[in-house]
């Protein structure tokens, strides 16, 4: 099983080069990293998984972007939105990860969305950067959202991914540290390790067999 940080932002978005990020991630216990708009590469034994990050609010536009990108087959990550939007997105083909659920309104990702995510094999991303970087009320709100998400996860067992959203090598956290941080919102260590393995396996998923005559 792979151990993947599901979203990093190297230079020029951040202050660390892709190679340096890979080097540091390897030292912290990861064997792959997901990087938006990066070519598929391997540095210092760490696999770079390319991804496209979609922050659109119109499902039609998202559908078009996925179709336009169809042949390249990177990991497709879409920012979550309102309840109806999330349900529509989860029904689209070609989406791998629904991210930034903590930024949406409470109940925008509900039991129906959770069941859909489980059925469609779409992973939900847990972004650890607000847990690491913020404090006080804003961190408490994010923890509450993640607690709700973990409750739904325990019931419907959809896939989870975990990301540090690091823009610098100083924002990266080790696998053990991620386990401890996830403990703050009651995510079990086994589930964390499973979640760290999800992003690496999402692209390898085999679809239903189609008979060509």
């Amino acid at each position: 099983m792979t151990t993947t940080d599901a979203c990093l932002h190297p230079y020029p978005d951040g202050n660390s080069s892709l190679r340096r990020m890979a080097l540091e991630a390897g030292a912290l216990g990861f064997d792959s990293i997901v990087v938006p708009d990066a070519p598929p590469q391997e540095y210092f034994g760490v696999r770079v998984i390319p991804a496209i990050l979609i922050a659109e609010l119109n499902p039609r536009v998202i559908s078009g972007l996925i179709r336009a990108n169809g042949q390249k087959q990177p990991l497709v990550m879409v920012n979550a939105g309102e309840n109806g939007f999330n349900r529509e997105i989860l029904n689209l083909k070609g989406i791998h990860i629904l991210r930034q659920v903590h930024k949406t309104r409470k109940n925008s990702f509900d039991h129906v969305s959770a069941r859909l995510a489980a059925e469609r094999g779409v992973a939900v991303d847990i972004d650890l950067s607000p847990i690491i970087h913020s404090s006080g009320l804003s961190r408490q709100r994010v923890m509450q959202r993640y607690n709700d998400l973990v409750t739904l996860f325990n019931r419907y067992r959809f896939s989870l991914t975990l990301s540090s959203n690091a823009c610098s090598i100083l924002d990266l956290r080790s696998v053990e540290e991620i386990c401890l941080l996830c403990g703050l919102f009651s995510l079990e260590e086994d589930d964390v390790r499973e979640g760290l393995g999800t992003a690496g396996s999402l692209l390898d998923q085999k679809g239903p067999v189609t008979v060509v005559t």
Binding site: Y11, R19, S174
Partner: protein
């Protein structure tokens, strides 16, 4: 005053953490405030008092903490949420824990040598002061007076640019 007998003393643990980026000379008092704020923010005053965290030493990029036995998880989690100290971005990585300071000092990892002297390099059309260490790692600090950009790259990136 007669000291407390050992059986009545509170059991302590010692933890060694490394501080990134290397080259910062941390002020132990400043570091203590940053970490205790992080512990309090995560666990509240009650638990922070029970943890009883203190900074024993902070030299080069190695920091030694003391805390009450049984709170390893809490201390490690709190260290993972430390992101800056005195307007400088840092990361603390817990390395070793031990029951005595003597045993911890025996377990200290060897100090990594930074190449003596900083060299000047050009990267993407700008002039930086480069610090090379650990073989591939290169830290670049932009030359200037205000808002100096700090970049973390590798030797390969430098050769490619």
């Amino acid at each position: 005053m007669k000291p407390l007998p050992p059986t009545l003393r509170r059991k302590k643990r010692y933890m060694l953490a490394t501080m990134d980026p290397p080259g910062i000379e941390p002020d132990p008092r400043e570091l203590y405030h940053v970490i205790s704020e992080s512990v309090t923010s995560l666990y509240g005053d009650g638990k922070a008092a029970a943890i009883g965290l203190s900074v024993i030493s902070a030299q080069a990029n190695q920091v030694i903490f003391r805390y009450t036995r049984g709170y390893d998880k809490e201390v490690r989690t709190a260290l993972a949420t430390v992101t800056d100290m005195a307007d400088q971005r840092i990361a603390l990585r817990a390395k070793v824990t031990s029951g005595t300071l003597h045993a911890l000092r025996r377990k200290l990892p060897r100090k990594t040598d930074t190449e003596p002297g900083l060299s000047e390099v050009e990267y993407h059309g700008r002039t930086y002061c480069a610090r090379r260490y650990h073989g591939q790692k290169v830290d670049l600090l932009e030359k200037g007076i205000k808002r100096q950009e700090l970049l973390y790259i590798t030797q390969d990136d430098l050769e490619e640019s």
